[in-house]
Amino acid sequence: MHDKVLNVSAIKNGTVIDHIPATSLFEVISILGLHNVESQITFGTNLESKKLGKKAIIKLSEVYLMDDEINKISLVAPQAKLNIIKNFEVVEKKIVEVPENVVGIVKCFNPSCITNHERIVTRFKVLSMNELRLKCHYCEKITDHEHMEII
């Protein structure tokens, strides 16, 4: 079944992002700015996954991501795995790594934070990933997973 899903929309060259929690698919699309990509993109969601329950998958034809772009999705899809495809073969596998700083992706949960009142690119230091804790560079308050909102 799993192979069949992959085969339906296999890509010749590009990147496959697998093991995205189904609930995070649209956040991943937004974080990676995929709405601006012009080449062919295939999405699948609510696919069966032993690890995640329901997972999503994104196939990007002729698109290769930089490591720092990949790491941006670690906030919403920490278990995501990337396969780099050349001529229908997987030539490289990548996993997402937690960045030291999160820039311009997350909104500071503190309503009194200056970043919520002026046009300022938010910046956080990642204090811990297992239990996500982001310290705002400006107000110094900590935003956790429960209060995290993607811009």
């Binding site: 009194s112 560079h137 110094e140």
Partner: protein, 302 residues
């Protein structure tokens, strides 16, 4: 420190603290009325704070510097919708240093990134107020003749009180022992307790004053505000437990000093004002010397 902004107390090192304290002492014993001559300080109080503003104004004018600025947002272009970014960019052209107070947390850090000149944070909402911490350190050093190995008792609202958090961070450089006295709802946050544990420093938590007064070298009082309590009954039950009265000082060390960032409401009974332990008014005067020292260091004049 030359040319550097002071946004958070952690922007400066222990060595920086000690240099500032030495200089504050020098300014207090030998006033230098010409050091800031020709210097212009921008004083941007987007949120009013008369005491802090007057302290900075006194610090600058007593050393021959000039102050320009505004005392509340309504008298500035902010009310016309100007962004903080634009205000800071423009004021940067007119002066050598900006002292700013703003209700938004993180505003001073942001301003320090926008400005072409150094920023001194005179309070950004509930976040940081580092010059208060420097004057607290100066007051402690002056009264105890040292900063090392002191027994520091922090009282009142330890959950939201930014002054006690910054003081804790700064004093942790000097091997202090801490006592925290607060209602259960306003206990010292875990993150600060872990910070002390990681540095191997001792602290004890209490919900009432009892015996700790006699061990303390410094009692740092803060105000317990009603609006901090989710349960008003809890406030009524505890509100008087953190008030200091004269009879509570009978076993105190003779050199113990009571500090308070002011304004007080009733957490220090006025009968204490005449005791040798009362220090909060002199503490406010120390703010002038501490701020002079900080400005002199940042402007590279000393």
């Amino acid at each position: 420190m030359n040319g550097k902004s002071l946004v958070s107390i952690t922007d400066f090192s222990k060595e920086n603290y000690l240099e500032i304290l030495d200089l504050a002492k020098e300014f207090e014993s030998r006033p230098n009325p010409d050091l800031f001559r020709g210097k212009v300080v921008g004083s941007l109080f987007f949120e009013p704070s008369t005491r802090t503003r007057l302290s900075f104004e006194s610090a600058v004018t007593r050393m021959g510097g000039r102050i320009i600025g505004f005392t509340e947002a309504s008298s500035s272009s902010v009310t016309k919708g100007e962004t903080l970014y634009d205000t800071i960019k423009i004021v940067s052209n007119y002066c050598d240093l900006i002292v700013m107070r703003h209700a938004m947390e993180g505003s001073a850090r942001y301003a320090s990134e926008v400005a072409s000149i150094p920023i001194i944070n005179a309070g950004d909402g509930a976040n940081q107020h580092p010059t208060q911490t420097m004057l607290d350190l100066y007051s402690i050093q002056k009264t105890q003749n040292k900063l090392e190995n002191l027994n520091i008792c922090l009282v009142g609202d330890l959950k939201y009180g930014r002054t006690v958090h910054s003081l804790l961070m700064a004093m942790s450089e000097f091997n202090s022992t801490f006592h925290f006295v607060s209602p259960k709802e306003l206990k010292m946050p875990m993150v600060y307790k872990l910070f002390l544990e990681n540095r191997g420093l001792k602290y004890e938590e209490h919900t009432e004053f009892n015996d700790i007064v006699k061990e303390a070298d410094v009692i740092y009082m803060t105000r317990v505000q009603k609006e901090r309590f989710s349960d008003p009954i809890e406030y009524e039950k505890t509100k008087n437990a953190y008030n200091l009265k004269k009879d509570m000082l009978k076993n105190a060390k003779p050199g113990m000093k009571i500090l308070h960032p002011l304004p007080r409401v009733n957490e220090i009974h006025t009968e204490i004002d005449s005791t040798p332990q009362a220090y909060y008014f002199t503490q406010a005067l120390n703010g002038v010397f501490a701020r002079q020292a900080i400005i002199a260091k940042i402007l590279g004049l000393k």
